[in-house]
């Protein structure tokens, strides 16, 4: 490609990513975004200004050398680009799909000041997909064995990133997963139309080839304890990445009715247990022709709404208690949900679920208005007195967040936790109140994003490496 001037680059439009037609895509669980082909990727990459000071990298919780990999894409060196990404990110084909780039790397992009930022997410996805399509794996340098063993509890994003870094440093790593499938929220939570499951398996397969050992069907806490891992199972250190898996319920009358689901249960039945398949053994309610509401405004709420549409729900309405401006979900997913026909109602909050003979029939909501900013800095929704209405619904999916999973912390009283149940850690090293035990991801922060968990897993891996070294000397 001929050399483009800075002005030329700034004049170029952001390259749109091909999407499946909304009419077709709501009929199945295949991926919505088709991703760039190589020509589009090179075109988009050529917009990069290759800034001297790469502010985009500051916006990335794992510090991927974004400018460097994008230059390699622009030059057509896709394996080279993959190698750069792999230095810092163990799950690039996942992050390229699910990261909220608009508030991270792309949010910082200089091009975004006047026009549209460079599509870092689409490019990351392209590089990782290209690598997988060609079955080449970027050569990862593994340090000589240290003889140290580390147990990682939970195979979600935090655990995978911690394991990936530790194994590169020469430590032996065993990842314990409670469920029968690896990946944590990537397996049970994020639907296949946004994150195909073979991609998750491929990323985990790559870690396995690098030497990470995985064991499913192991729940640390009620059976084998943290202490057992250190005392009898011979591990020198432990990383806890058990996530924020305990669904919150609004605590309003009628939430025990049949038809009221937590988003976790609804998505687990569909994603992990494949309930969308009529032959699956695990059922989900027959949504065909049934009015459905989803309560919440995050990515999980949007995922649940779009999943309900794909299961044939008659009318899917998202109910969010603040206004559209405060919607925490990724912009792209909100747009996709709208294209597919998800209705959205803002400034409403449920106060009761009403049913007949045990089955949900409607949700009573009160209308809200925005008041002063609350602790999160967002305007606090306050009820408008007397503004109450009933919304017809046979199914209500609650996606108002998750509390930290209590199973491990309850079984380990010596592990310091906050009032909210999150594990207290040193923010730099991830070390907990127990020497040699580290934690990261949602179990330390409450519900956040995949990429934040990856960042925490990396920091803890560095902390663990340091700690192991200090034990030897």
């Amino acid at each position: 490609m001929t050399e483009l001037s800075k002005r030329d680059r700034m004049r170029m439009e952001r390259t749109p990513v091909p999407l499946r037609d909304p009419v077709d895509r709501v009929k199945d669980f295949d991926e919505v975004s088709l991703g760039y082909a190589s020509g589009l990727a090179v075109l988009e990459a050529s917009r990069c200004l290759n800034c001297t000071r790469q502010v985009c990298v500051d916006g990335c919780p794992v510090g991927v050398r974004i400018g460097d990999f994008i230059q390699l894409v622009a030059d057509g060196d896709f394996p080279g680009a993959a190698a750069v990404i792999h230095e810092d990110n163990v799950l690039p084909s996942v992050c390229g799909r699910v990261c909220p780039q608009e508030v991270q790397c792309e949010g910082a992009c200089v091009l975004g000041k006047k026009g549209k930022p460079i599509a870092i997410g689409y490019l990351e996805r392209f590089v990782a997909d290209e690598e997988r399509r060609n079955a080449i794996s970027a050569s990862v340098v593994i340090a000589p064995p240290t003889g140290k063993r580390v147990a990682v509890i939970g195979s979600g994003p935090a655990g995978l990133s911690c394991a990936g870094d530790l194994v590169k440093l020469g430590h032996r790593v065993v990842v314990y997963e409670a469920l029968h499938e690896l990946g944590g929220v990537l397996a049970y939570g994020i639907p296949a139309f946004r994150l195909p499951k073979d991609i998750v398996r491929a990323e985990i397969g790559a870690l396995e080839r690098q030497g990470v050992e995985f064991e499913t069907d192991v729940l640390i806490g009620p059976g084998m304890t943290l202490r057992d891992l250190l005392a009898t199972e011979g591990f020198d250190a432990v990383f806890i990445g058990t996530g924020a898996g305990l669904p919150r319920f609004p605590g309003v009358p009628g939430e025990e009715l049949i038809g009221v689901y937590s988003a976790n249960e609804f998505l687990t039945r569909v994603n992990l247990m494949a309930a969308y398949d009529p032959d699956a053994r695990t059922p989900v309610y027959d949504l065909v022709g049934r009015p459905t509401v989803v309560i919440g405004g995050g990515n999980t709420a949007i995922d649940a709404a779009r999943t309900a549409l794909r299961l044939g729900a008659d009318r899917v309405t998202l109910l969010y208690r603040r206004s559209e401006t405060e919607l925490p979900a990724r912009h792209e997913e909100v747009e996709h949900a709208r294209e597919e026909g998800v209705h959205m109602r803002f400034l409403v909050s449920p106060i009761a679920f009403l049913g007949e003979e045990g089955w949900l029939r409607s949700v009573t909501v009160e209308r809200m208005m925005l008041g002063e900013p609350d602790a999160s800095g967002r305007a606090r929704p306050e009820p408008i007195p007397g503004a109450v209405e009933d919304i017809r619904a046979d199914v209500a999916i609650i996606a108002i967040g998750n509390a930290p999973n209590p199973v491990l912390t309850r079984a380990t009283p010596s592990l310091d936790t906050s009032g909210a149940g999150t594990i207290t850690v040193d923010l730099t090293t991830g070390e907990t109140s127990i020497p040699g035990v580290f934690a990261g991801g949602d179990i330390t922060t409450g519900g956040a994003t995949v990429i934040r968990a990856l960042g925490a897993g990396r920091r803890a891996a560095a902390g663990i490496d340091q700690w192991l070294a200090s034990q030897t000397s």
Partner: protein, 283 residues
Amino acid sequence: MEARFTVRQVSSLGPDIHRIVIDAPRVARHARPGQFVIVRPTSDGERIPLTVCETDPASGTITLVVQGVGRSTDDLLSLGEHDHVADVLGPLGLPTEVDRFGPCAIVAGGVGAAIALPVARAWKEAGNAIVGILGARSASHLILVDELMATCDEVHLMTEDGSTGGAGLVTDALVTVLQEQSIARVFVVGPIAMMRAVADLTRSAGVPTVASLNPLMVDGTGMCGGCRVTIGGQTRFACVDGPEFDAHLVDFGALAMRNTAYRTFEACQRDLIKAAPHDETAS
């Protein structure tokens, strides 16, 4: 993956009720009375919660009692020796509280006996006298009678058709026991209607009672909230906060209602629905 969970022994305890001994060394080493496992028969199967009836840490096996009540539990009934299941996860849930309470009554209906047996053994071992009350539809549905007889100080058998022991319900026997003896604590497990009747009885008699609940469950680790039960007006998760709760605070009506959520689905999945005394179907 290597076959980790191999079936070692299968025996029939009654109509469509099997006792299955299976390799699960970690569970065998760590499980305590009252805890349960999640079993997935095949790699495309459902996750089925089952109580651990016995453990043998030395041989690394656990004993499960399974009643065929749906497509997935039928899969478990079709298992023979040397077959294996895809997954066994456990132990799950909180163990039974074990202490020196004084004389205790253990009340079990149908295959609930499999859940009651380890509790009876633990309470007996802690120095409590145990009255066992075991009920079922008919004599052939009474299971683990010898084992409970060997553990309890006295055992009352009740069948609805009078084919063995007293004719009637477990509550009939419990009324007599509560009249004749001073009972410090009751453990109850069985069909929801039975547990509710026992809870009503012991509430008025002022005897602390623990019920082992059997809501529908998916993951068993606190993640889905499908097993939520209402305890004293609060939403609790049976998998991580239970499965045992103060029977006097349990909203049995809500539990019974929620357990019907997939009846239609299950009916389609199976040619014949059998009324189940202790419906441990996961869904």
